[in-house]
């Protein structure tokens, strides 16, 4: 009997507690935003987004090393990266954001947002946090091609130019190597009588140089 009454009183009082909670919430300011009329950024303060908001991706090109980790991490293969080595004869001497010397031009960095599932795996994989979620989440458009975003700072001509410079450098190096080789051969022929050990080591270095140039 005591139990029974206790039970009733407890049930009743817990209901009152619940009602108190909802009553307090009734007068708390709302958390939602009248979205198309009021942009969430206006309300939350610009560049403030909820943590883990998976919005449109943004690539901060000065930070990107061109390591292609993001491309590999992407489960739907929507990132396409093509890099071009920075030629040493290039007049531009680009630096990374942290002041290191840039090794690769990003001649192509495309993300296809039509495919992207906004999983955020690329942002985790990136060693320099160059690829991040932006605060922009409105990407509906009338043409699917608009969703293919090019992040590379270069247009086609610039890419061609950079490639040409690189090719020139390769050519120069090859010529130089050839010249070196020829010079070496010449020298060898001239110094036919000299020590055989020196000659063989010369050959090897020039061969190494050739291989390197080709691979680039």
């Amino acid at each position: 009997m005591i139990n029974y009454l206790k039970n009733i009183i407890k049930g009743f009082s817990t209901i009152l507690v619940g009602m108190k909670v909802t009553f307090i919430n009734l007068f708390r300011p709302n958390v939602t935003v009248q979205y198309p009329n009021v942009h969430p950024l206006v309300r939350a303060g610009s560049d403030k987004m909820p943590d883990n908001a998976r919005n449109k991706l943004n690539v901060i090109i000065p930070k990107c090393t061109g390591c292609k980790s993001c491309e590999k991490a992407c489960p739907v293969n929507c990132i396409t990266i093509e890099t071009t080595k920075v030629a040493s004869i290039d007049t531009e001497k680009p630096l990374m954001e942290d002041g290191k010397k840039r090794v690769f031009w990003l001649s192509q960095f495309d993300i296809d947002f039509a495919k992207c599932c906004f999983c955020g795996l690329c942002t985790i994989a990136c060693p320099t946090s160059a690829i991040v979620h932006s605060t922009d989440f409105e990407y509906s458009c009338y043409d699917r091609n608009e969703l293919l975003v090019h992040f590379s700072p270069f247009n086609k001509e610039q890419v061609a130019e950079k490639k040409r410079i690189l090719a020139e450098e390769v050519k120069q190096k090859a010529e130089k190597a050839l010249a070196d080789k020829q010079a070496a051969e010449k020298a060898a022929q001239e110094q036919n009588i000299t020590d055989s050990k020196i000659k063989s080591s010369d050959d090897q270095t020039s061969a190494n140089q050739n291989i390197q140039n080709n691979s680039n």
């Binding site: 909802t22 919430n25 709302n30 958390v31």
Partner: protein
């Protein structure tokens, strides 16, 4: 009390008896329709505010036209009668349910000078007529030819019939204190400030203090049963959407669904009005004779009733749904004994004062 005839006499002087009767009958209907719009809006808004949302905001200023838009949406929808359904009963059911609610409205005294029908056994009539809703629900549930509808209807009926008993106990308790079943008389007895309301022991002197706990408990019991009788949360097992799609009105659409909807909100008002009359003084002002003219009385009556409607909505967004067996446990093992004890006390009070 012949007072309630005031409006009828007034109108019939100009139009004749028949037209006056029709006009009087239209008043509760208009009240019901306007009230339903307000209640739907209130429900949407309170629900949203409790969840820290804004609720409807686009239709009109602050979404004020939302209920109107919803009514138009329901009217436009295709009126589907399923192939396997029992057509005459299927089409009749919503109207029977609505009839029960509308008939109950007809005896509510809105003011000391106006009750659509001043029946002197008004309380008894309301208990009786609310059983029409039971029939309508069975009719709709059975005629839909759908398992979920049928189970929902069965649950609803067993629930309403069970909860009618404690509800009748509460009403009887007050009736025995008031020595009357006339709602107008009961309201009139509670005039003279909130201290005279039956929830605080009625209009007896200071010696009624021992009665107050019983009347308060009785009021709580009645409030709980009224939630169950209108199938509101936490007792909305008949339409529990997690189990039964929508219960007895699963198959209904368009206009007929609107009738179910209207009847649900109408019933909420009816039970709130009964609560107002039997426990909270009906149309009488809570401040004695202050603001107690017949026009203000309408305001008090509607304000008090709407308070309880709001309370029901508030509860709906607080509590989860109970299980069916818990529902029956609550009714038979808690509410019924409690109401019996309180009834005995109140009957004693009725004899003493």
């Amino acid at each position: 009390m012949e007072n309630h005839q005031f409006l009828f006499n007034f109108i019939s002087e100009y139009t004749g008896d028949i037209l006056a009767g029709v006009l009087i009958a239209i008043i509760p209907l208009a009240l019901l329709l306007v009230y339903a719009l307000v209640a739907i809006y209130g429900e949407l808004k309170i629900a949203s505010f409790i969840q820290l949302k804004l609720g409807p905001m686009r239709t009109g200023k602050w979404g004020l036209l939302q209920p109107v838009a919803e009514v138009f949406k329901l009217l436009q929808k295709e009126d589907i009668t399923p192939d396997g359904a029992d057509k005459p009963l299927f089409n009749l059911a919503p109207f029977i349910i609505f009839l029960g609610c509308y008939a109950a409205l007809s005896v509510l005294p809105l003011s000391s000078h106006f009750a659509p029908s001043g029946l002197n056994i008004g309380l008894f009539f309301i208990i009786a007529i609310s059983s029409l809703a039971v029939l309508g629900i069975v009719m709709g549930g059975w005629a839909s030819n759908n398992k979920y509808s049928l189970i929902g209807a069965m649950r609803s009926v067993s629930q309403i019939i069970s909860y009618e008993i404690p509800a009748a106990m509460c009403i009887l308790g007050v009736a025995s204190m008031a020595h009357s079943l006339d709602m107008n008389v009961i309201s009139a007895q509670q005039q003279g400030g909130f201290w005279n309301w039956y929830v605080l022991g009625g209009p007896a002197g200071i010696s009624k203090i021992w009665l107050i706990p019983f009347t308060v408990v009785m009021f709580i019991v009645y409030f709980v049963t009224s939630l169950a009788e209108t199938n509101r949360t936490p007792f909305d097992v008949p339409e529990g959407e997690s189990e039964l799609v929508a219960g007895y009105h699963t198959e209904y659409s368009g206009m007929k669904f609107a009738f179910f909807y209207l009847a649900e909100y109408g019933n909420m008002f009816v039970v709130s009005a009964i609560m107002t009359v039997i426990f909270f003084g009906g149309w009488s002002s809570p401040f004695g004779d202050f603001l107690n003219s017949p026009i203000w009385q309408i305001f008090w009556f509607i304000a008090k009733s709407m308070f309880f409607v709001g309370l029901q909505i508030w509860l709906r967004w607080t509590l989860p749904r109970t299980r069916v067996d818990q529902l029956m446990y609550l009714c038979w093992k808690i509410l019924l004994p409690l109401s019996m004890v309180c009834f005995l006390a109140m009957a004693l009070g009725g004899m003493l004062y």
